[in-house]
Amino acid sequence: MQEGKSILALEGYLDAHTAPQFEKAVEEEFEAGRIQIIVDCSKLSYISSAGLGVFMSFVEEIREVGGDIKICGLTPKVFQVFEILGFPALFDIVDDIPAAMKKYAESPVKES
C-alpha cells in the first residue's frame, strides 16, 4: 500500500480456477474502503475470459464512489488479449506501478 492505494499483484494463470481468489481480493479492498486499486500484471502469464470478467464486475461500482482500477505491467501477450477485447477504452493501462501512481494523480477516475 502506498499513499492509500492498493496494489494487487497477479502471478501465473488467471483463469476460471484462480479468478475467484482475485475476485475476493478486489472485494476485500473495496469493502475496506481502499478504492484506488492498481493491478500489477507484470508476472501474469495468461488471462482467460473469466479473469477479464473480474476487472469488469467491479470497475463500475468502484468508479461510482470515486475510485478506479488501473492496470500496469502487462506482458505483450496478455496485453494483446486486453486489446482485442477493447479494454484500453475502458481502463487506464500503463507501464508500471509509478506510472499508475502518476495516473491516479492526473485523473483519479478514467475519463469517458
Binding site: E11, L14, A25, M56
Partner: protein
C-alpha cells in the same frame, strides 16, 4: 495487499491432488491385503498332486538329461540344448477318475523333454523326464551305418531292452509283460511290453528300440479305450460350446471393430498415432514372450527330430504375430473412437502409450491394478476349496521351462480379451443400450462367455467354472468402475504373475520356488513404479476428471444422469447452429464448430437482410459450460431480433450490447465479429466487438491481413463508450477474396509443447487455400490445426466461418 495468484503452469491446482490421489489407493490396498490373505490361507490347502510336483527347473532338467545321455553313450559336449514340457490332459483326467490305478499314477501327465542337438543336427539325443526326476524315455540318433547287425547282437539286444524297460517302468515293472520280441524296424529291433492287468480304459505299452547294443528309443504309449474317450468328450461338451460362442463373439467383435475403425477414420475421430503405439507395444510383448517362452525350443527340438512339425510350428507362431498385431490395431482404434464419444476409460492407457507416460493417472491405474491382482488370483483357489473334486487346470506347464518365466508371465498384457471386454463391449453395453438392466445382463453374458472361453479352469464341474468366471468378472468390473481400462489390464497381468508364482510355490523344486519369488518381485516393482509415479510425477491435464469419473458405471450415478441431460443440451445447442450455410450466388460459405465441453459458448449464424444482403456472425461467450450456453442462446435471439429491424451494423451491435449489459452482472460478456455481405455491390461491412480480428485474404494483391478495427466486447459497458469506440469497416471484395471469421479457440489451440496456433499460422493456413472452395478452405485450415495439435485436444470451443468470392 492482495495475495499473489499462484497456479502451476498446468491446468489443475497440483498441491491438493497429491494427497488426494494417494488416498485413492486405500481401497485397492485393502482389496490387495484381503486377496493376499486368501492366497496365503488357501494355497497350502490346494491339491498338490494336481500341481505336478516338479522337482527341478530348466537347469535341473538339462543336468538330468545330460546324465542320461552320457550313460547311454551320447556325447553332449558342443551340443545345443533345448527344453520343453508337455502336459497330457487325457491321462490327468483318467488319473482323476481312477485314483486307485497305481500303474496309471506311476506315469505322470507331465513330461519334461531335454534335447541335445549337434550343430550339424547329425546327432540328437532327447531325454524325457517325469516331474519327480524319473526317466520316462529317450530317443537317440547318431550317424551310424545302417543294418540290424549280426544275430549274436540280437541276443544282447534283449538284455539291453530289458534294462531300459526296468529304468522306465521302475516299481511298476511287474505289471507289464513282454508281447513283442525284437520286431525289425527301420531304426532297429523293437521290444514291446503291455500292461498285464485288464483295466477300465487305460492300456499303456512301453516300447524299447535297440540298435547296435544301444537302446536308441524308449517311450510309454498311452492307449485309452474308446469308451473312456467318449466319456471325456461328453464332460467337455459345455466348455466346447462356450469356446465356440467365444470364437464367434471374438470374430464378431473384430469385424465390428474394423467397421468402427473405418467409420472413425472417415469422421477423423480415430487417433491413429495411439493405435499404432498400442499395436507396437502389443507386438513388443508378443515378441518377448515368444523369444523367452518355450516356443523357440519347441520349434528347434521338433526341427531336429521331425522337420514337418517345425514348419507347422513356425507358421503357427507367424499367424499369432500377424493376428495379434492386426487385431490390436483395429481394436484400439475402435475402442478409442468409442471412448472419445462416450467413455473416458481409455484415457490413462492412452497416456501410458504417449510421451506423457510418466504422469499421475498412469501411476494410479498401475498401482491400483497390481493391488487388485491378488483378489482376482485368489478366485480359483477359493473355487478349488469349495469344489475339491473339480479338476483344476493349471497354466501351460511348458511355460515353466521357458528361458525366462518372468517375461513369459507378463506376455500379452494388452490382450484383446481384456481390452475387448472392458474397452469395447462394456462401453457398447453401457452407452448404446438405454435400459440399465438390459445393458447389465448383456455385459454379464458377454463377460462370462469371454472369461469361460478364454480360460475355462475347472473342467469337470461346469458350476465351478461359471462361479469362477463370474467372480473374476465381478472383481474386474469393480476395478474398472473405480478406475479405468489400464487398471484392469495391469490387474490381468498381476493375476497372471500371481497364478504362475502360486504354481511355482507348489513345486518341490527350490529353484522353481526361487523363480516364484522373482515373479513376485516383478509385481512389487511394478507396484512401486506406480506409487512413485502417483506420488512424484506431474499430473496430466483433465487427468483427475478422467480417472475419477464413475462414467461408464452400470448403476447410472447422478453424474451420468447429468451427463445425459448435457447431451440433450448439447444436441439442442448444435441444432441452434445453422445446419447448412445459405446459398449466395457468386459466393461460397462454409462453417464449422466443435464445442470443447458438452455445451459451449461459441456461436455462428447467417441472417438474411433486405436486398439479398446477409449478416454473418461469429460470437464467443466468456466462460464455458452451461452458463455460457445460456448466454449464447440469448445472444442468438438478440441477433435475430435486431437484424429484423433493418438497423445499421453499428446499431445492431449497440442494441445487443445494451441488452446484454442490462441482463448481465458484467462478469459475463460476449465478443462478436459481424459482417454484412452485399452480394450485389460485392461489399462487406465489418465490425468487431472485442472479438478476434477476422482474416481477409486478397488473391489479386496477394495480401493477407487482420481486420483489426476497434470495438469493445458486448455487455461490458452500458453504451456510451461502446458506441464511441466501435468502428465499422467497409470493404470492396474481388474475385478470389476470402474472409475468415473464427473464435479464439482456433488461435489459442495449444499443442503439447504449450505453443498456441496463433494468428500467424492461421494467416499462413488461409494463404494455402487460394485455389479451394469455401468448404475446401475450411477443411484445409482445420487440418492445419489438427496437424499442429498433433493429437492434443482443443481446450476451448473452436469455430470457423469461411466466405469466399467466386
Amino acid at each position: 495487499m492482495g495475495q499473489p495468484i499462484l497456479a502451476a503452469a498446468g491446468f489443475q491446482p497440483a498441491l491438493s491432488n497429491k494427497a488426494g490421489s494417494v488416498k485413492r489407493l486405500i481401497i485397492p490396498l485393502v482389496v490387495g491385503l484381503v486377496g493376499t490373505a486368501m492366497i496365503v490361507i488357501l494355497l497350502p490347502r490346494t491339491n498338490r498332486a494336481a500341481a505336478w510336483g516338479l522337482q527341478f527347473d530348466r537347469d535341473g532338467a538339462i543336468q538330468r538329461g545330460r546324465l542320461l545321455a552320457e550313460s547311454e553313450g551320447f556325447q553332449t559336449s558342443g551340443c545345443n540344448v533345448y527344453v520343453d514340457a508337455e502336459h497330457r490332459g487325457q491321462l490327468e483326467a483318467y488319473q482323476h477318475l481312477h485314483r486307485e490305478d497305481s500303474t496309471a499314477r506311476a506315469i505322470s501327465p507331465v513330461l519334461v523333454k531335454v534335447a541335445f542337438v549337434s550343430p550339424d543336427r547329425g546327432r540328437v539325443f532327447r531325454a524325457e523326464l517325469y516331474p519327480d526326476g524319473r526317466v520316462a524315455g529317450w530317443t537317440s540318433k547318431q550317424k551310424t551305418s545302417g543294418g540290424l547287425g549280426p544275430y549274436s547282437e540280437m541276443l544282447d539286444a534283449l538284455a539291453v531292452a530289458n534294462s531300459a524297460f526296468d529304468t522306465i517302468a521302475g516299481s511298476e515293472a511287474g505289471g507289464y509283460h513282454l508281447t513283442t520280441n525284437a520286431a525289425g524296424t527301420k531304426d532297429g529291433s523293437r521290444f514291446t511290453w503291455e500292461r498285464t492287468a485288464a483295466s477300465v480304459g487305460f492300456q499303456p505299452t512301453i516300447d524299447v528300440v535297440v540298435f547296435h547294443a544301444h537302446a536308441v528309443r524308449t517311450q510309454t504309449r498311452l492307449n485309452f479305450s474308446n469308451e473312456f474317450e467318449t466319456r471325456l468328450r461328453a464332460r467337455h461338451q459345455t466348455s466346447d460350446w462356450v469356446r465356440i460362442a467365444y470364437f464367434i463373439l471374438y470374430f464378431a467383435m473384430m469385424l465390428a471393430a474394423s467397421v468402427l475403425y473405418t467409420l472413425g477414420s472417415i469422421q477423423r475421430r480415430v487417433d491413429h498415432r495411439f493405435a499404432i503405439a498400442f499395436s507396437l507395444a502389443n507386438l513388443v510383448f508378443v515378441i518377448l514372450a515368444f523369444l523367452f517362452g518355450p516356443t523357440p525350443d519347441q520349434i528347434r527340438m521338433s526341427a531336429a527330430l521331425d522337420n514337418d512339425q517345425a514348419i507347422v510350428g513356425f507358421s503357427g507362431s507367424g499367424f499369432a504375430f500377424v493376428s495379434a498385431f492386426g487385431l490390436a490395431w483395429v481394436v484400439s482404434g475402435a475402442g478409442l473412437f468409442m471412448a472419445g464419444s462416450t467413455l473416458n476409460k481409455w484415457w490413462s492407457l492412452r497416456l501410458a502409450l504417449s510421451r506423457r507416460m510418466f504422469s499421475k493417472p498412469v501411476g494410479l491405474a498401475i498401482a491400483a491394478g497390481i493391488l487388485w491382482g491378488p483378489l482376482i488370483a485368489a478366485v480359483p483357489l477359493l473355487i478349488a476349496e469349495i469344489f475339491p473334486d473339480a479338476e483344476w487346470k493349471h497354466a501351460d506347464v511348458s511355460e515353466l521351462f521357458g528361458r525366462s518365466i518372468v517375461s513369459q508371465a507378463i506376455d500379452f498384457p494388452l490382450h484383446p480379451t481384456v481390452v475387448g471386454l472392458f474397452g469395447i463391449l462394456l462401453a457398447f453395453a453401457l452407452t448404446r443400450i438405454q435400459r440399465v438392466w438390459i445393458s447389465r445382463v448383456v455385459f454379464c453374458c458377454l463377460g462370462l462367455i469371454f472369461i469361460l472361453g478364454f480360460e475355462g479352469r475347472f473342467l469337470s464341474s461346469p458350476v465351478a467354472n461359471f462361479l469362477n468366471a463370474g467372480l473374476t468378472l465381478a472383481a474386474s468390473y469393480e476395478l474398472f468402475r473405480r478406475f479405468d481400462l489400464l487398471a484392469v489390464i495391469t490387474a490381468a497381468t498381476a493375476t497372471t504373475i500371481l497364478n504362475e508364482a502360486a504354481l511355482l510355490f507348489l513345486q518341490p523344486s527350490a529353484a522353481l520356488r526361487g523363480c516364484g519369488w522373482r515373479l513376485l518381485g516383478t509385481a512389487a516393482t511394478m507396484l512401486g513404479a506406480g506409487v512413485v509415479l502417483l506420488w512424484k510425477a506431474p499430473d496430466a491435464p483433465e487427468g483427475e476428471q478422467a480417472i475419477t469419473g464413475p462414467i461408464g458405471e452400470g448403476l447410472r450415478s447422478a453424474r451420468d444422469e447429468l451427463k445425459s441431460e448435457f447431451s440433450i443440451a448439447q444436441r439442442a445447442q448444435r441444432e441452434m447452429l445453422p445446419a447448412n450455410p445459405p446459398v449466395v450466388p457468386g459466393f461460397s460459405l462454409s462453417a464449422h464448430c466443435t464445442p470443447a465441453k458438452e455445451v459451449g459458448g461459441d456461436l455462428y449464424d447467417f441472417l438474411p437482410l433486405s436486398n439479398d444482403r446477409l449478416a454473418i456472425a461469429v460470437a464467443d461467450v466468456s466462460g464455458k459450460g452451461v452458463p455460457a450456453a445460456l448466454y449464447m442462446t440469448l445472444t442468438k435471439g438478440l441477433l435475430a431480433a435486431t437484424t429484423q429491424d433493418e438497423l445499421h451494423l453499428s446499431e445492431i451491435m449497440a442494441q445487443i450490447n445494451g441488452h446484454l449489459h442490462s441482463v448481465g452482472h458484467r462478469k459475463t460478456f460476449v465478443t462478436m465479429a459481424l459482417a454484412i455481405l452485399d452480394p450485389v455491390q460485392r461489399t462487406i461491412e465489418y465490425a468487431r466487438a472485442g472479438h478476434n480480428p477476422a482474416v481477409l485474404r486478397s488473391v489479386s494483391t496477394g495480401s493477407t491481413r487482420l481486420l483489426n478495427s476497434p470495438g469493445i466486447g458486448l455487455g461490458i459497458n452500458s453504451g456510451k463508450i461502446f458506441r464511441r469506440t466501435l468502428a465499422v469497416e467497409k470493404l470492396v471484395l474481388e474475385s478470389g477474396d476470402t474472409l475468415v471469421l473464427y473464435s479464439d479457440g482456433l488461435t489459442e489451440a495449444m499443442n503439447r509443447e504449450l505453443e498456441e496456433f496463433g494468428e500467424d499460422r492461421l494467416m499462413a493456413a488461409v494463404e494455402k487455400t487460394d485455389s479451394l472452395s469455401a468448404d475446401g478452405a475450411r477443411d484445409q485450415i482445420l487440418r492445419d490445426v489438427t496437424d499442429f495439435l498433433a493429437g492434443n485436444h482443443p481446450q476451448d470451443d473452436l469455430t470457423l466461418v469461411v466466405l469466399r468470392v467466386e
